[in-house]
Assembly symmetry: D2
Homo-oligomer: 338 residues x 4
């Protein structure tokens, strides 16, 4: 059994992780922390009968665990990561603290001095399908953001093959409200969301632009600007993104599907739909799958890729558990099949 500690168990991501861990046959939860709800149990906060005790993070000893998951806000996560890492415990960080490669990038996109820059070189970007080998041996995994996960899986085959032309890659993304976190805000009030669709952080200002552009450049060997329009969608879960990719040479349907089939043929959690089908949220919500559909538009020199995932599963807790399986040498799909 792999002994697990979870920091920040009461947000949507932490709760989803605990839900998944309950079904995982080879892990054992040794602690779950909450600053605001220490002393309570999960059943006090969510409509579930799980009497999981919540301890204050200062009372949790990371050394009791083999691996700790950090479901904490950025800025708060890094110090906890350091404490665990220095105790020799492996860390899967679901915050943004170790996703950007340099303190400068972190300062630019998050407006903070990085709390633990010396650990940045150790961090492996936890997009399992792309960095599986490095993750297997990593001490510190930076679990990707929800938007970047779908975008990068949708773009990777094109970028790696050097097919993308100049000009911005346009990402028009729509996210369920759980992506905005559990703290009540005017923007997540039911009345504000229902019967509405609200773009936000439009253009090149959302923090995930930095993460996406960094990873796109790594995959392509050259930078591409991303034009990113996230929207708040009146659903609880899921992200669906349209990726408008200008191509150096037109791809037809057969070529596009061959490229993606080759790239993802062994991937249990990437589902490339057959030609003629279109990805929807319903293909992905409640699963750890990233679903892709390909829409070649050779007459205008573009490939449109539509990608869907569950922001709390493949976009957060599910991918984190997938990474744990990789790190622990377990079957990658364990506990994630449903």
């Amino acid at each position: 059994m792999v002994r697990i500690g979870v920091y920040g168990a009461t947000g949507y991501t932490g709760f989803e992780l605990l839900r998944l861990l309950r079904r995982h046959p080879r892990t054992e939860l040794v602690f779950a922390t909450s600053e605001s709800a220490a002393g309570q149990t999960l059943a006090d906060l969510y409509p579930v009968p799980w009497e999981v005790p919540l301890v204050h993070p200062e009372e949790a000893d990371p050394a009791q665990a083999d691996v700790v998951f950090l479901c904490l806000p950025h800025g708060a996560s890094a110090p906890t990561a350091v404490r665990a890492l220095e105790a020799g415990i492996r860390v899967i960080d679901l915050s943004a603290d170790f996703r950007l490669a340099t303190p400068e990038a972190y300062a630019r996109w998050y407006g903070l001095e990085h709390p633990a820059p010396t650990w940045l070189p150790q961090a492996v970007y936890g997009l399992t399908e792309l960095y599986r080998e490095q993750i297997a041996g990593a001490r510190l995994v930076a679990n990707p953001g929800c938007y970047p996960t779908g975008t990068l899986l949708g773009l990777a085959p094109l970028l790696q093959a050097g097919l993308v032309a100049d000009g911005p890659i346009i990402v028009d993304a729509k996210s369920g409200v759980s992506g905005a976190g559990r703290r009540p805000r005017p923007t997540t009030h039911f009345v504000a969301v229902h019967e509405n669709l609200a773009p936000y952080s439009v253009g090149r200002v959302h923090r995930h632009v930095g993460e996406m552009e960094q990873e796109v450049a790594k995959l392509a060997g050259t930078p591409y600007p991303i034009l990113f329009t996230p929207h708040l969608l009146p659903v609880s879960r899921g992200i669906l993104s349209s990726l408008y990719v200008p191509l150096r040479d037109p791809l037809d349907t057969a070529a596009a599907h061959a490229l993606y089939a080759q790239a993802y043929k062994k991937e249990p959690f990437v589902w490339v739909l057959p030609p003629g089908q279109t990805a929807t949220l319903a293909h992905a919500v409640g699963t750890n799958r990233c679903v892709l559909s390909l829409h070649p538009l050779p007459e205008v020199g573009h490939l449109l890729v539509i990608t869907a995932l569950d922001n709390l599963v493949k976009g957060a807790a599910g991918q984190a558990l997938q990474n744990l399986n990789v790190m622990a040498g377990l079957p990658e799909t364990m506990g994630l099949e449903a």
Copy 2:
């Protein structure tokens, strides 16, 4: 033109009132107040192009108005009412401060010493269809609660005719989320509400029970206990209630419809559906109508009345404007026809 002041213009009720007043041809808005947003305009808070300036309530002079509407929390409303009343200005109070007839009842249901008990005898309960004449001459109108409006219009013909048997009257009510107010709370977070249905304040504890029992006793000349189960419904607006009424003698369909037709034959805003039809939220939302459908169950000695209204219109701002029309001698439907 009737000069209008609105206190508390930025909550859902205040905003709805301003929306209705814009279409009312014989009123003129002289001020709209907000404590938290003074100095801003309505267009800063809501997605509308209405540059209505918001002033701090202490800077609003009630004497500039002929009538003021109070869309303030209970407890905060009464002192503002007194200020206006003492300046000779008529008041329509949408809070609960003047709905209960005695300071004792107020203390029991609201847990506060009444802020202005000497004004209680002046207050007229503003359920227009039942107290039209008193409202016409009132200085102080206590606009009814959203749940009581539908319940009382649904029960009044039976109570006034002395038809209700002993035993509790059961009211199973479902309300849209705007009824919970605009302040973000965990219970109004989109993720908490969507795909959910949540009863709350079940039994005889919701504050509107006191208001309903008071008014039921007035209508019947004798008290009846009410068993009240409100629910939070995943819609933005509307209240639909099932009223299970035990009868002294069974009523059949013809008799039930004759009774209600007689009671409401001249009412522009009470819509009694024909036999065989059932009230739904969609019959009422966006209008000032209270919709009723009658379901006689003589074999079990009950009449089931289903009642629907828009909690922000007939359940709050619309009825307040209806009362203004009555007070100002204007056609009762003015500005409310849509």
Copy 3:
């Protein structure tokens, strides 16, 4: 392995059953039928990657299975049941065809002559918690309706203890749209449902009234009339019901909870919430649990029981699988734990 055949695999209930069976470690699907989609696979109809072949029901041989589930419309289900039963195959029928004890009751509530009256005496009513022993040995299980499941689990302890007074038991129930079936109708169009709440089949006319009254009489040893108000709720799944039960003698909180705790202490799928908590849809959706909360109102001689379940799981496919586990001697929670 228990070999399973599923008739009617493409409706919501059939699909949910296939989804559950995929996670069940001791069953093997030998066929799944569809009249309209024979020759296709499940992936052609639902956004899932499950290439389960669909065969025409006439091409399915029940004798290949140990147990067949019937997810067919009433009237169509009984002949298929007979075919399997005569081949010696055990049947779990999710339709209404074998729920009512007599052909007369069936004719009254379903307007049809019963297609297989000689099999009615063999049928066991499949409310697992109440008829577990008979189910274990049954050849033919009549899986309960979605509304009756919650209502009967909510009422059973009171009825069995003889505590219910005369007068109707009032059941105010709210169901998600999947309960109305997958066939598109004007009443299930998104625009008709969203931002609406619509009661239907109000009073004593819904077919489940017959089923509920039959079972209530069995549990109490004496008949009680039920006054039933179902509503269509703008959610996909779940039923929440308020049961207003008049009592011979008042029950206080401690006594009510003691009664239910005793009744359900060993039940893995009945969750009685502690005093002070209220059942919501979110407690139940996605699980096989029936959730109960108790709200004693001794001052008006009633106990209010609020009950929630997932209409497709505990209200249909989940309970069917629970019954299979009982029939096959497997742990009752197998495949249903999540």
Copy 4:
């Protein structure tokens, strides 16, 4: 009074038009037709108390009206238009039958031989803000499609100024379900739509691509390809579109706003949001406004325009009534102010 006939009164568009006409002070409804509901009234079909009689279209005499509105399916609309036009009656056609300029384009996009090609040269494209003068004198107005209305108002200032660079204009659009019509289909079933987001007719296949490209070419004097991704959104009403426009020369915020302010300074129904604000569905739903927000991205050579409207109002019935006002010499905002 302008005498009005409405063909096809019972679909969502026809019903919305009747709703708007009720508030219009200078029109008189002389007939409303329905093939399927002839002999019934509007109150039989919708939850409203409007006893508007519905006649069979063959019993409606267009000559009783001054103007007829056609809310009919494409293909069926043209013959009705011809009948009215030949009687000398002016026609506002809300179908697609007269939007495309040539029979060839109609055949390509709608797969039908045009039913009345000789009338095509008479048709004026009814985007009021762009063709107001021609509309004023038109006998036949082709009311624009819902998607084109928002797209064209969002693009027109750029196109007319010759600022758009080569390369496709990308339109990522999201529509509420009323846009799919009132006939129940699997794709509009509540369960299929709720908690989902589904792109459809992706790329360059949706019929509105033809209409948009025709009008874009007229405005720019040169053709541009459009890459169009419509989505079905889980709301009842509204369209929000992201328009990604490549520019010949970068525009900064001041220049972009100056351009649009100039273009729309006198338009009552185009609302250009100030810099820093973002258009949402909530800005537009329930109104006849088209709302625009401008997001210059000079570093990648694009202007992102976000546009929102109510598909049934400015996208259909509201714009049709706006056109009627223009044709009849009435104030353009009459009946549309709310």
